[in-house]
């Protein structure tokens, strides 16, 4: 791999732009593809570039059929928006980062953000509906509300339901969740909308501590990403 190609790749990864490297495994020639443009000593036909773009969109690495061209896709990162810089967030945020999610925590409460000591995680001190809307959740975004406070969770969930987020989860017991569903129904959300909310949040693994609950939430997010949304 030429140094210029490796540098382009690192730059794209740092700026979080989806891209791909293409290697002709018979000739060892390579190129770098980003936003429909290819650069390098390997020349691609427009049909090949089209195939690479489709693979980037699908986040799938592999060979272009019937060719020696191997495409390594570096897809747009998945994101997780966590509402509430609470105790569970202290465990969930770093676990989700390890699993490849770009994590942002939204909490308007300065004291919680300070107490969470999550210096490595992006945080936004805004009201959750504004924060969620600003982050423009898409098909690669998971949204988890953890504040347990309707004043903060409800607006976040309302904003989440208006987005394409592939996963929406909300902490709270069955009872809390039933009340939450009633409040959101009064706001005009339909049963189909509300069925998108995973509540009580997480897989049932008998989690007790904040970090165990984080494991159950991340387990559910991965399940939905890999087995349902994919």
């Amino acid at each position: 791999m030429k140094s210029s190609l490796f540098d382009s790749l690192c730059e794209a990864l740092l700026s979080k732009h989806a891209c791909a490297t293409v290697s002709n495994l018979a000739t060892d020639k390579q190129c770098f593809v980003q936003s429909g443009n290819a650069g390098g000593d390997l020349e691609l036909s427009s049909a090949d570039i089209q195939s690479v773009e489709e693979m980037i969109a699908a986040d799938v690495s592999g060979h272009i059929a019937k060719t020696d061209l191997f495409v390594r896709v570096y897809g747009p990162n998945y994101r997780m928006i966590i509402v509430g810089a609470v105790h569970i967030a202290q465990a969930l945020a770093p676990m989700a980062q390890l699993a490849g999610f770009d994590v942002t925590i939204i909490d308007p409460r300065e004291a919680f953000v300070q107490a969470s000591r999550l210096s490595d995680v992006a945080s936004i001190r805004e009201w959750p509906d504004d924060g969620v809307t600003k982050l423009e959740p898409d098909l690669r975004t998971a949204i988890v509300t953890l504040t347990h406070d309707p004043k903060l969770d409800d607006p976040a969930l309302a904003a989440a339901l208006k987005s394409d987020a592939f996963y929406i989860g909300s902490l709270g017991s069955k009872k809390t969740h039933a009340k939450r569903i009633r409040r959101l129904t009064e706001q005009g959300f339909t049963d189909a909308d509300l069925s998108r909310i995973h509540g009580p949040v997480g897989l049932d693994i008998g989690a007790k501590t904040p970090s165990e609950i984080a494991v159950s939430i991340l387990g559910e997010v991965v399940t939905i990403r890999r087995l349902v949304a994919a």
Binding site: S3, F6, S23, L25, D28, G62, H63, F70, G100
Partner: protein, 107 residues
């Protein structure tokens, strides 16, 4: 970047920044059950330090050896590991799959 899937590239760029010679191994094809998906990277430096994985640990030793040779010669190589491979008794995938690993020097 904390994501452990892109970490090998981060480590590789750190080694390069220190002036070390490096190689990158990539899983380019898999058949049957294989521990790591297509695209998985193992980065190796001239001292034999490595980051990432191309299997559950069963073939890394052989891939690192090939990567060190590639760092030396600049020649790419395509390694095949699987139960049908001649090397299977020595280095192979316990899970019964086959993988092709492409090894290249990063200039």
């Amino acid at each position: 970047m904390k994501d452990i899937d892109t970490d090998p590239l981060v480590r590789l760029s750190e080694w390069r920044a220190k002036g070390q010679c490096t190689a990158l191994a990539t899983v380019v094809q898999t058949w049957g059950s294989s521990p790591r998906p297509v695209g998985s990277h193992l980065a190796v430096n001239e001292a034999g330090e490595f980051a990432g994985s191309v299997s559950g640990g069963c073939i890394e030793g052989a891939v690192i050896a090939a990567a060190l040779a590639t760092i030396e010669t600049g020649e790419t190589s395509m390694l095949e590991f699987g139960v049908t491979n001649d090397m299977a008794w020595e280095v192979g995938l316990a899970c019964g799959g086959t993988v092709h690993v492409y090894v290249e020097r990063v200039e």
